[in-house]
Symmetry: C2
């Protein structure tokens, strides 16, 4: 029995956030369907930000409903505030991912309020969630710029740990530690992730890395050593942050799955199926920059995955 | 005092092996001069293969003599056989890097003889070296396809360790373990490098990684954990192997230096100077594929290098 490692595909949200093409709803859903067929069980399918800020997500409800209807994976959505969370709750989505920035400057640029105000907003979201009837919605607390900030520079590791603890106390069911701008290095990742995991107890902790400075997969290995077993990734390495200059690219889903499988983890995902899906996504998004080594070089003859997509 | 980590620039050899442009000798030497000015102290400056096989290296003697005359770094050359070694010895170069493949199939494709015959050739080279008067030439024994082979697939780790031990017994002053085709993963690297370091005792062991499948820097971190403190790298990620389909790219010198410095190692190299040099090299080699994240994204505000080029 190999140990499990979990991939959450965030391409339909983080990947589409900065692209030039407004992708039709049907193609967003085809992306989700293809990822699920490749074996991915968690997909962040859209963002409940106002459509006037990010027109790409004007069809957020429709995408979320379509993803829910598929039934083949667990869809989650990103929300920046209580209003977004309420939209997600109304659809009875199983998971909602809230994000704030550990860097005050980044939080201000992103949502025009202090990190403390964003924490209190999370508490309100959790309270609304707890008052709802029906199946309990899982709430993830995402901590952006946890490894540094293009505006402020260094971010205190103690502050990141404190935010993680407070999110957990306020009702987060998962903590997502994000290197939004690609500042993290493996030493820092190992240290901070050990501290966060130690501080939040049994609450699962995921990492969200960007490969902006080439250290994305090295950071995954460091996080694995610290005990992290869940990673956000984006097909073809799409992604970026509007407030992180040059911050192109999440870690690439295909390459991350490849590495995890080579390291002996069971991701349940078939790289070949992801590469086929990637060709479709590339054809839908002309003029975008796609990254990723496995799609270019091919799997090695020694690839030892036993993962079979369901 | 930070711990030292050593970078050997191999771009003028491995990087130029597959490019379309025959670079003039003056530009090859300008590359070496620029790398030395950035703080690099070891450069593999050329290859003593027959010019009819790789026309790029028709000026090997001229490059080696020019590099020696600079006096600002330690030049080494790659040699595939005794004939190449004799050319290097005649120039009184301080170091000669011999390479053979752990994979029989790759060794046959590369130099038309068995790995065992190549080992005996190394013994002859060491014997010739030992009989020479004057300053003792340092001999490195390079083990290509140590992590797998595009022709043969898996390569036995025990065989790699055995080759490393035999090279050492035959007089190697350094062992270079090479992932020629980009098959290595961090788990394998940690395991094999620990085994090689344990087996060859005090002889220094370097790693030579290709980033073909995106795991180059993750493999560097794994090698660091195993105790490796010396790495081959190529400016702008140039490089490839004629017998490794799709095997584009050594690990990128700038990105590797960046990561090592972020991890707290003292490389003595200034990334900014490498990026300036990279622009020159790119302008000399039109139509080539250059990789590397730092040159595109820039150093983070949190970059903590204290390395100053000499």
């Amino acid at each position: 029995m190999r140990e499990k490692a979990h991939i959450r595909e965030v391409g339909p949200r983080d990947g589409l956030q900065m692209v030039k093409t407004i992708l039709p709803t049907a193609q967003k859903l085809a992306w989700c369907r293809g990822a699920a067929e490749a074996g991915i069980r968690e997909i962040e399918v859209t963002s409940f930000v106002p459509a006037k800020i990010v027109p790409q997500f004007a069809d957020a409800e429709e995408v979320a409903r379509g993803a829910l209807a598929m039934g083949s994976f667990r869809p989650s959505v990103l929300v920046p505030n209580l209003r977004g969370a309420e939209r997600a709750f109304a659809l009875a989505l199983p998971q909602v991912n809230y994000v704030l920035s550990a860097s005050e400057a980044h939080n201000l640029a992103n949502v025009r309020r202090s990190t403390e105000e964003s924490l209190l907003d999370f508490a309100r979201i959790a309270a609304v969630r707890d008052q709802r009837a029906g199946t309990r919605v899982s709430l993830a607390g995402g901590i952006a710029t946890a490894f540094g900030c293009t505006i402020a520079g260094a971010v205190s590791e103690a502050r990141v740990v404190e935010i993680a603890v407070r999110l957990t106390e306020m009702g987060a069911d998962e903590i997502i530690v994000a290197d939004t701008v690609g500042y993290g290095d493996p030493g820092q990742v190992r240290r901070l992730m050990k501290a966060v995991i130690g501080a939040v107890g049994p609450v699962p902790v995921a990492c969200h890395f960007h490969d902006t400075r080439g250290l994305g997969l090295a950071n995954v290995t460091a996080a694995l050593e610290a005990g992290v077993r869940a990673f956000d990734a984006s097909l073809a390495g799409l992604g970026g942050c509007p407030f992180a200059p040059g911050a192109t690219g999440n870690i690439d889903t295909e390459d991350t799955v490849f590495m995890l499988e080579q390291l002996g983890f069971d991701t349940g995902v078939e790289v070949e199926a992801l590469i086929a899906l990637r060709s479709d996504v590339e054809s839908w998004l002309p003029g975008e920059r796609f990254s990723g080594a496995i799609a270019r070089a091919g799997l090695p003859k020694t690839y030892r995955s036993h993962s079979k997509a369901a």
